[in-house]
């Protein structure tokens, strides 16, 4: 489909129309993600969630958006004016840019870049700049602390995220239309290579690492340390209100959506698996939607059930566990590709490693959970006094 056709075949008009459609869809998706998150979390906590606005609260998101837009746009007196005011835009623009490469159906992305995967994580890295600008420009120590935490966390977790994706890219091999492909960064080609099996079946460990790093990049529980309400009153956007605050929210949910589609493209087979090219674009859009909703639901599920980590636990987990495991994964995949060993054995090795990895994590968690012999500091003092 070429929208430029109607306008004398100008290529950039086609691009602009596609971008506008994607952004409109994104806005509506974000409004319903806020509603969905409140409903899902409410269900986990045995509440009802929003019920009043519209049928079953379906219009709640729009009501909230209206309220936020009409609120006053405050700026603290000792904030750095330009840094403070441009920070929300700097967080939003990278997220918006990522939407350009995401493939929603066979011929339905804005543009199909040869370096799609690389594009996504190169642009995502710029997201940190806006958060740090918010932290530095607010003139507030909680905002500064939140910014420092966010920056440290996002720089660290970007490494395992990228390595896990590269591990998949290395083993993405196969034939498309008779052309042999050995590893590709093109998102459409990655999807086409998953016609018979999604990559999660041969790279489950990469999926686990990707999912953990993704939670951290999105500041989702249990890694929501930069925006921890009980510790630093909301983090880097504590001084924002009205439309600028809602831009931070918008970019947060938009990146959740973008990450979910990206993850479903790389690991779950995007619009192709199963039967994507045979059953037409309706089924393809349905597959993309269902798979990304699955991702989003998983993120909300984790958020509703797992308590927040401490900052040192978070950093240790990244630098001492995730990075090593993902390097090991890349080395193993490289050996398999170099000697051209069959994919089934690779999958088997990977499943074994995944079970081992999660088993060790679970064992450590269960072992640490035993606190019956520990006595808190104040209890010790009490007992020594007695």
């Amino acid at each position: 489909m070429d929208f430029g056709q109607a306008f004398f075949g100008i290529a950039w008009i086609d691009a602009i129309i596609r971008v506008v459609i994607v952004v409109l869809v994104m806005t509506i998706v974000v409004v319903y993600l806020t509603y969905g998150e409140r409903k899902v979390v409410a269900r986990f906590q045995q509440r009802l969630g929003p019920t009043k606005t519209g049928r079953a609260g379906l219009l709640q998101g729009f009501a909230d958006a209206l309220k936020l837009v009409s609120k006053e746009d405050l700026r603290p007196r000792n904030a750095d004016r330009w840094v403070f005011e441009f920070a929300p835009f700097m967080t939003f623009i990278p997220v918006f840019t990522i939407l350009i490469v995401l493939p929603f159906a066979a011929d339905w992305g804005v543009r199909n870049l040869a370096l799609g995967v690389f594009f996504v994580f190169a642009i995502l890295g710029l997201n940190i700049v806006g958060i740090m600008m918010a932290g530095l420009g607010s003139g507030n120590k909680y905002a500064l602390l939140g910014g420092v935490r966010a920056a440290a966390q996002m720089i660290s977790y970007e490494i395992p995220l990228v390595l896990a994706l590269l591990a998949v890219v290395i083993v993405a091999r196969g034939e498309i239309d008779g052309v042999q492909i050995n590893g590709t960064l093109n998102l459409q080609e990655l999807i086409l290579l998953q016609e018979t099996r999604p990559f999660i079946l041969i790279q489950p460990l990469a999926f686990v690492i990707f999912f953990m790093a993704m939670l951290s990049e999105l500041h989702r529980a249990p890694f929501d340390i930069p925006v921890a309400e009980s510790e630093i009153v909301g983090g880097y956007f504590v001084e924002y209100s009205g439309i600028r605050w809602s831009m931070f929210q918008l970019s947060e949910y938009a990146s959740l959506w973008a990450f979910s589609i990206f993850g479903s493209v790389v690991f779950l087979g995007g619009w192709e698996f199963p039967m994507g090219s045979d059953w037409g674009w309706g089924w393809q859009l349905f597959l993309t939607g269902v798979k990304s909703l699955l991702f989003i639901f998983l993120v909300m599920w984790v958020r509703a059930t797992v308590p927040r980590l401490r900052i040192d636990q978070l950093m240790n987990f990244c630098w001492k566990v995730l990075i090593e495991v993902s390097f090991l994964l890349i080395i193993v995949n490289g050996v398999f590709v170099l000697y051209d060993w069959p994919e089934e054995i690779l999958a088997l090795v990977n499943w074994g490693a995944t079970v081992l990895f999660l088993g060790i994590l679970y064992y450590r968690g269960v072992r640490r959970a035993k606190t019956s012999d520990y006595v808190g500091t104040y209890r010790q003092e009490e007992m020594s006094l007695a």
Binding site: D80, V83, L115, F118, L136, I155
Partner: protein, 167 residues
């Protein structure tokens, strides 16, 4: 034609924000001007159709180097109040001298060298396969040496930082 106009526009933005880095009175503004400047360089790579280099520029300079600068600022500055730090001292003339000499050398080298595969007005789109071929096959050994050098520098930095901690 349109690309050329945009290219010069971006070049102007780059130079302006580079001047901003030096002239800004607050060090945070300097850091942000630096980000803009480096980001615009990446955009100019896009106009030259070297997407890979552009994305590397965004990833390394936009997402990592400048973020480290901002992080250092955050860890060392007071949280509130905008104190104006004078970063341009009496060394400014020497700075201009060094920058001028460097600019002359770079421009001279860029125009004086006969680049291999140089074509006017028609930038070649280099695919990532060619880049990786050259980097890991033709220049495999230098690549590994640079990697080891970086690792040594990293370990050295950690050792230096730790020593101070132990005292």
């Amino acid at each position: 034609m349109a690309t050329e106009v945009l290219w010069w526009l971006f070049a102007a933005v780059m130079v302006a924000s580079a001047i901003g880095v030096v002239a800004a009175r607050s060090i945070i503004h300097s850091a942000i001007f630096l980000i803009i400047s480096l980001g615009v360089v990446g955009a100019m790579y896009l106009f030259l159709t070297v997407e890979f280099l552009a994305l590397v520029q965004f990833l390394i300079y936009g997402g990592a180097v400048t973020v480290l600068i901002l992080l250092a600022l955050m860890l060392t500055r007071m949280a509130t109040g905008d104190e104006r730090m004078i970063v341009n001292g009496p060394q400014a003339p020497f700075g201009f001298l060094v920058a001028g000499v460097l600019a002359v050398i770079l421009v001279g080298v860029a125009f004086g060298t006969s680049w291999r595969g140089d074509v006017d007005d028609l930038p070649a789109n280099i695919s990532i396969h060619q880049v990786s071929e050259v980097m890991f096959m033709n220049f495999g050994a230098p690549f590994i040496f640079v990697a080891v050098l970086l690792l040594v520098a990293l370990v050295g930095a950690i050792i230096l930082a730790r020593q101070e901690d132990a005292e």
